[in-house]
């Protein structure tokens, strides 16, 4: 009877525990990260009593937490990817909206400018047409400035977000380290709720930086970045931080406290999660887009300026530059020991790629690599004024003395979009006219007629009053009776400060008279050059025109946004799948809990009845004895 009593009370106790657990599950049905719990019941083994072993009731073997470490691993991977792609896609879409906006983008003022240039060709002396070109040029330059400013704001936002998210990641890593310590101290009795809290924080940390975990024998987990650097080792958290870029103070890099306690810079490849997404956006999307925007600005401004300089303005003066551009940017590494500095300028427009480079001075020679891929880029020249260093279309003159090991960052087109400025303000300063008025002599026999002309040297051209070109035979000509010069078909006649194309074939004794174009000329030849600038193959070694490059730029930024968006969609599907898997194992189902509640409640009531029966038996026994 005492065994019946103890059997009944063991059942009462066990079902009370089970009901408690059901209550705990119901209470936490919508707690984030909660894993449902279950009591495992086990029959209590009785003592041998002759005929066999009679059972002695029930025990709660253990409180089980339903969770799967493998699913957690997948969940952490997915959180890291989700965080990375959300940042990347969100920011790339914002950049796309800036660039391809139908009102605020480059395309409308671009078309406006070339339309205005066409307008000047139809009415070259009209101050209204010329004024329209100047204001369209100003608009276009301003739009370039605005786009660069908006990109600069995105760049600043990356810095701000980086700082905020590094702080959040450090807080989470610290909490995980604490939980590790408590769990290790509790040993096998560690609370399942504590484990849930740690998993929840691991998930959040993964969303920020992306993590890999390694479980330890004492119950703690070590946490590493996706690049393998330790973030949490047992009860110790490593501090993430930000350090200024060695080439430029306005940009922050991610760092991690190393073994010696010193911060070590982390590349964008070392982390995933939101922080990885921010760094990737900056490196792969924003920087190239900004460099390309700058390259377009450089090519456009240089092309327009060259066209201006080739012609003469309304006052008969050689054309002046239309746009002002800042020179390519060179920044020294903070750790340089030499005092070298650079004077930079754009050399070869066709070779300009817009990619940022790192220059290195080692054992007396300069070398260059791409900043993003580390690929070597050829450098020629010695760095003097007469023989400047030539790298990626940029010419550099070295001042001061570099020390071996010194590094410099060369950003050929950075700042170009921000600094592009219209510098003409007088409509009459537009060089619409060709610099020369040339005529063939009436007695010429050959078919040659004077074609386009250009100024090659403004100072020398200013002294030109007029000249006479005489062909002494079909293959040689003289200018004002000077030394004979060989004539090559397709090549211009080159005078002092000017060039003249001849169309057709000259014959011996043919002659041509040229004079400098006088003021107030209505000639439109040079304006036509300007109007055709968007179709001139200036870029990529003379294979890419500006109009196509501009459309490609828009397409590239849009493509980046689209790829990030598609990757995010795919990852969202994976994440939903992983979440469903976790929920399927660990999530609380209220119907299930309701059924369990009924089951355990009934069992509890039955166990109480067993105790009542034991009491009745005991009372009957007592009654029998009393008699």
């Amino acid at each position: 009877m005492s065994s019946l009593l103890s059997t009944g009370s063991s059942a009462l106790l066990a079902f009370q525990r089970a009901l408690n657990t059901v209550g705990h599950n119901v209470a936490n049905a919508s707690t984030p990260g909660y894993s449902r719990q279950r009591v495992e019941l086990e029959a209590r083994i009785g003592q041998n009593s002759g005929p066999g072993q009679f059972g002695a009731g029930v025990d709660v073997a253990r409180l089980q937490r339903l969770a799967d470490g493998l699913v957690l691993g997948r969940q952490l991977d997915s959180s890291g990817e989700m965080g990375r792609l959300q940042q990347l896609s969100g920011l790339a879409t914002r950049l796309d909206m800036v660039v391809s906006d139908s009102v605020g983008g480059l395309a409308p003022p671009w078309s406006e400018f070339f339309g205005a240039a066409e307008g000047v060709t139809a009415d070259p002396t009209s101050p209204a047409a010329r004024g329209a070109l100047l204001s369209a040029g100003t608009q276009l330059a301003t739009r370039w400035n605005q786009l660069d400013r908006q990109m600069d704001q995105l760049d600043g936002e990356v810095n701000d977000r980086l700082t905020a998210q590094v702080a959040a990641a450090n807080r989470l890593a610290g909490e995980i380290a604490h939980l590790n310590r408590d769990i290790a101290a509790a040993g096998p009795n560690a609370s399942p709720d504590m484990l849930d809290q740690r998993d929840l924080r691991l998930g959040e940390l993964a969303g920020l930086v992306g993590v890999e975990t390694v479980a330890q024998d004492d119950g703690s987990v070590n946490v590493f970045t996706t690049g393998g650097q330790a973030l949490v080792l047992g009860a110790r958290a490593m501090e993430l931080g930000t350090v200024p870029d060695p080439y430029r103070n306005d940009r922050l890099q991610l760092s991690l406290q190393g073994a010696t306690g010193q911060p070590v810079p982390l590349g964008s490849g070392a982390v995933s999660g939101e922080i990885g997404g921010l760094l990737e956006f900056r490196e792969r999307v924003l920087d190239p887009a900004r460099a390309e925007l700058g390259r377009l600005a450089v090519a456009f401004a240089a092309g327009a300026n060259a066209t201006q300089r080739a012609g003469v303005d309304y006052n008969g003066k050689p054309g002046m530059d239309m746009f002002e551009l800042p020179p390519p940017r060179v920044d020294r590494h903070a750790g340089n020991s030499g005092d070298a500095s650079f004077t930079s300028r754009i050399g070869d427009l066709g070779a300009l790629t817009g990619q940022d480079l790192v220059l290195r001075f080692e054992a007396g020679t300069w070398s260059a690599t791409r900043a993003d891929t580390g690929q070597a880029v050829p450098v020629t020249g010695s760095g003097t004024e007469a023989d400047p260093l030539r790298v990626g279309g940029v010419e550099l003159v070295v001042g001061g003395t570099p020390a071996s090991g010194d590094r410099f960052s060369l950003r050929p087109t950075a700042g170009a979009a921000a600094g592009l400025q219209m510098v003409l303000d007088d409509p009459y300063s537009i060089a619409a006219a060709a610099p020369l008025e040339a005529s063939a002599d009436a007695g010429n026999v050959g078919s040659a007629t004077p074609g386009a002309s250009r100024i090659t040297d403004a100072a020398a051209f200013a002294g030109l009053a007029g000249a006479r070109i005489e062909f002494i035979d079909a293959g040689h000509y003289t200018i004002d009776g000077g030394a004979p010069i060989a004539w090559e078909p397709g090549q211009p006649i080159r005078g002092d400060g000017w060039e003249l194309d001849l169309d057709g074939t000259p014959a011996a004794d043919d002659s041509f008279t040229i004079t400098a174009t006088p003021p107030r000329s209505a000639d439109n030849a040079n304006a036509r050059q300007l109007a055709a600038l968007d179709e001139l193959d200036l870029l990529a070694g003379g294979t890419l025109d500006l109009g196509t490059a501009l459309a490609q730029f828009t397409g590239k930024v849009g493509g980046d946004a689209r790829h990030a968006g598609l990757a995010l969609e795919a990852q969202t599907a994976i994440d939903t799948q992983v979440t469903a898997e976790r929920e399927s194992i660990s999530g609380v189902n209220l119907d299930e809990e309701a059924a369990n509640l009924l089951r355990y409640q009934q069992a509890y009531m039955a166990a109480a009845q067993v105790i009542a029966t034991a009491d009745t038996l005991f009372q009957s026994l007592l009654g029998a004895v009393r008699r």
């Binding site: 660039v99 008025e437 209505a522 439109n524 459309a551 946004a561 939903t576 189902n589 209220l590 009924l598």
Partner: protein, 306 residues
């Protein structure tokens, strides 16, 4: 597969959110009239559309250019016709004067009229296009190209002639320089002569009494020069007419290009309303059913039945 209560809620929430995103995109396409509002929604389409927009804008400007050019060429046509009419009058006067019955006095009267016509021709040569540019001055068109003094008529323009783009890849010549029209006029003997000088020579011959003429046949030679000058003007007029006809063709070609560009752009960028409306209706139904399912699922609980 086991479903958790929170998971069930999450699932129905997500399916509603997804359908709302799709619905918002379709309704944006329908209200804005375009399939994509930023390049990321269709990078290839946006790249092509940007180029087409630029081509369309440039067509518009070429149309304005053609308008300016047409105005100037029509003025040139009028001027040349007027000059031809004046030369016809001179020719009539010369034929009249060749008649032996005409008195020296009447011949002198004709000479006065011819000098008058010569001045008119100078003013025709100095005509402007209405915006301050001389029509027949080459590219030195800021002042009057022809000046008349005791020594005759001097041309101060040049031989320059602008080309103006009026359709993609088609550039037409602007007005002819005054030298081509008036000063380098072919003569009957194959040389070149200033038409003003021809008129002056005719007037001189008519002012001279018939019996004092050094060469009694001088008028016949001058009349032949006059004929050849008229022929020259007629051919210039034909050339101008041809350019005006080309301008009209260019307008047609611009119109055709514009239509083609707009059609391509529209296919590329504009919302297909039939498609969008169908999609909208489907997405709406899907969202409504997702909402219905969600509300019904949330009502289900064993606890309600205990």
């Amino acid at each position: 597969m086991r479903i958790s209560t929170a998971g069930m809620h999450l699932q129905s929430l997500q399916s509603m959110l997804q359908r709302q995103t799709g619905l918002a995109r379709t309704s944006e396409q329908m209200s804005s009239g375009v399939k994509f509002s930023r390049a990321g929604q269709d990078p290839a389409g946006a790249t092509a559309a940007q180029r087409l927009d630029h081509a369309l804008a440039s067509l518009g400007q070429l149309g304005k250019n053609a308008g300016t050019l047409q105005h100037r060429l029509e003025l040139q046509e009028h001027a040349i016709t007027d000059a031809g009419d004046r030369l016809s009058r001179v020719r009539d006067l010369v034929i009249g004067a060749s008649n032996g019955a005409m008195s020296d006095h009447d011949r002198a009267m004709s000479a006065i009229e011819i000098r008058q016509i010569r001045e008119e021709l100078v003013s025709i040569g100095n005509r402007q296009d209405g915006s301050g540019r001389a029509l027949f001055a080459g590219t030195r068109d800021s002042g009057a190209p022809f000046t008349l003094d005791n020594n005759g008529v001097t041309y101060s323009g040049n031989e320059g002639r602008n080309s103006v783009e009026v359709a993609p890849g088609l550039a037409l010549a602007d007005t002819d320089p005054g030298s081509t029209v008036f000063t380098r006029v072919p003569t009957a003997d194959g040389g070149e002569r200033d038409v003003f000088a021809t008129l002056a020579a005719i007037a001189d011959a008519l002012e001279t009494p018939r019996d004092q003429l050094a060469d009694p046949d001088v008028l016949q030679g001058l009349q032949a020069d006059l004929d050849s000058a008229q022929e020259h003007l007629r051919s210039l007029r034909a050339g101008t007419g041809a350019r005006l006809a080309t301008l009209e063709n260019a307008a047609e070609s611009r119109g055709a290009s514009e239509l083609a560009l707009k059609t391509t752009l529209s296919d590329l960028r504009d919302t297909d309303y039939a498609d969008a409306a169908t999609r909208f209706a489907m997405q709406l139904t899907a969202l409504e059913s997702a909402q219905l399912v969600a509300s019904r699922m949330q009502g289900l609980s064993l606890f309600n039945k205990l």
